[in-house]
Subunit: 328 residues, 2 copies
């Protein structure tokens, strides 16, 4: 625990914003940055736009999340939405809700570092935003991007298309369980995945360039829930996930919990892998481009969803869960 010194405090909004400026560079495309009523950004004739909330107690737990990871993940989940359309993230606005507990330069230095790491890596700029005190800490980011070679939508698959994912599923869920059970040491990859999920930037570029790909999304609520959002209304999916497709830490945790590893993995949200469908003729080329690619099933003609020959139910729904469990 550090002892808070006077120089660690923010004294006004101006003070906070001046501090923030040190972490975010001017980049091409940002015509006018912070400091006026609006930012002005360079655009093409169409733009992708998406917003994601990232709230303490709902999307992250301050017990496990260092400020660096909060910043990183808040932006990462937004970047993922642009990649899930086959787009290229360009910039974002960020509204920060802070409270006294965290309103220190020590905290925000790490928080901004986590965000600016991704800005540098993917050449994304902060265009503006807002800041306010609030009952609890949270971030709302609106990200915008340009279209890739083409846009990839949901619900465009054809029967017989293969269903693919770009990386490991279930890891973030394992990480959360590991934190709760104090097993961080044994589940290092999973806990890191929960804090700082992988971003499938180059995988998205490769997918967009493959003309056989028919649809794409990112998995935020778990494969079991999101597959129903990906597949067109009159169709279904036959998923086959075996142990060889799962990370060893996922299998270990499923064993500890006495659960089926494939079901456990397919229910896990927040891995932000890209999940899509592709006509089978294109799969070899996609596998060559993305070494971590896994084919987990096939689109079927009837409206039925199966995992390893069993009918599947749902994934995790933040909203439903909170609705049922919030105590006022």
């Amino acid at each position: 625990m550090y002892i808070l010194k006077n120089k660690d405090k923010f004294f006004s909004e101006e003070d906070f914003l001046k501090f923030l400026d040190g972490f975010f560079e001017q980049r091409e495309g940002l015509i006018l940055g912070r400091g006026d009523d609006c930012a002005i950004i360079k655009t093409e004739n169409e733009m992708l736009i998406s917003s994601d909330l990232f709230l303490e107690g709902y999307h992250f737990d301050m017990k496990y999340f260092p400020p660096y990871a909060i910043g990183y993940k808040a932006l990462a989940v937004n970047i993922s939405d642009i990649l899930a359309m086959g787009g290229i993230p360009v910039g974002f606005t960020m509204s920060i809700m802070i409270n006294k507990k965290i309103a220190t330069k020590i905290f925000f230095k790490e928080f901004f570092k986590g965000i600016s790491l991704l800005c540098k890596k993917y050449n994304i700029y902060l265009a503006g935003g807002d800041i306010s005190f609030s009952k609890s800490f949270g971030i709302d980011i609106t990200i915008f991007g340009k279209k890739g070679e083409r846009c990839l939508f949901r619900k465009k698959a054809n029967p017989g298309d293969l269903i693919f994912i770009t990386g490991d599923i279930g890891l973030s869920r394992v990480g959360l369980y590991a934190f709760k059970k104090g097993l961080q040491e044994r589940f290092k990859v999973a806990t890191m995945s929960h804090l700082m999920p992988k971003i499938f930037y180059y995988e998205s570029r490769a997918i967009t360039k493959n003309p056989f790909v028919t649809s794409l999304m990112d998995v935020s609520d778990g494969v079991l829930k999101d597959i129903k959002r990906l597949i067109p209304k009159e169709m279904g999916a036959n998923l086959e996930i075996d142990g060889s497709m799962l990370h060893p830490e996922v299998i270990s945790m499923a064993e500890i919990l006495g659960e089926d590893p494939a079901v456990f993995a397919a229910k896990g949200g927040e891995d932000y892998v890209l999940m899509g469908t592709i006509a089978s003729d294109g799969i070899k080329r996609l596998k060559d481009a993305i070494p971590t690619l896994k084919v987990i099933g096939e689109v079927i003609r009837n409206e039925e969803f199966m995992l390893n020959r069993k009918k599947i139910e749902g994934g995790f729904d933040h909203f439903e869960y909170s609705f049922k469990n919030t105590v006022e």
Copy 2:
């Protein structure tokens, strides 16, 4: 007090979003709306963008604000940011933080109506957003717009320019005091201004077309604070505000409080009047175009801010106030 029936409740995020759909129409320029990972919007080669938080207990008090006014004001303050650059609002994303207390169709019907009124009136579309449960109710809106005939920035005034405002100041502050003192009946205009501030849409269009205007912003924190954000660094302002420029309800409330009406009005935030500077040659034409226009002072050569020949201090700062008064 109504008795909550089962049909008034939301059962899932899907349920909530389906309900929301009923209030927001498809409009030209929104190429792809809600339902995929991103929205796709039509843009020109440059775009204005701005975000504003609107949080319970910080920006609005549920004791005074009916849900209709919460929706209205959350969007209105964002529209004002685009107008303050001389731009034309086009669309927005909206992140809603809800809790059990307000998660009913009865509440959100009114809330969405307040927003969609403005969407219809100014031809603005909802592009997307996010929703999450939260410890307290709040909205974060990111609005985007196209440039007007030209952009109007802050800090571009010249010495000798006149300082103008497009409407009444201090009214919103009077409204807040009236609510707190139970004087709503006596301060009807002011309380309405606090709940549903006037939007200076057509005034912004007229200002942008006047080539003599040198700078523009909207007044959210009060003239006394915002004037320092408007005037270039090496200059100052000599403000002269007399009773004839103030709304009778502002004068009445200042009398009740024993304060100087001009100072009271100039400290009042949240009126969202446009405040700008103009070379004196252009003022007649601007007055003709905007009947409610008031000239409140002049830009001066030295870095000094005066109101009615007295040096001025500051306005209201949500951030500073919260920092000093939040109890953890």
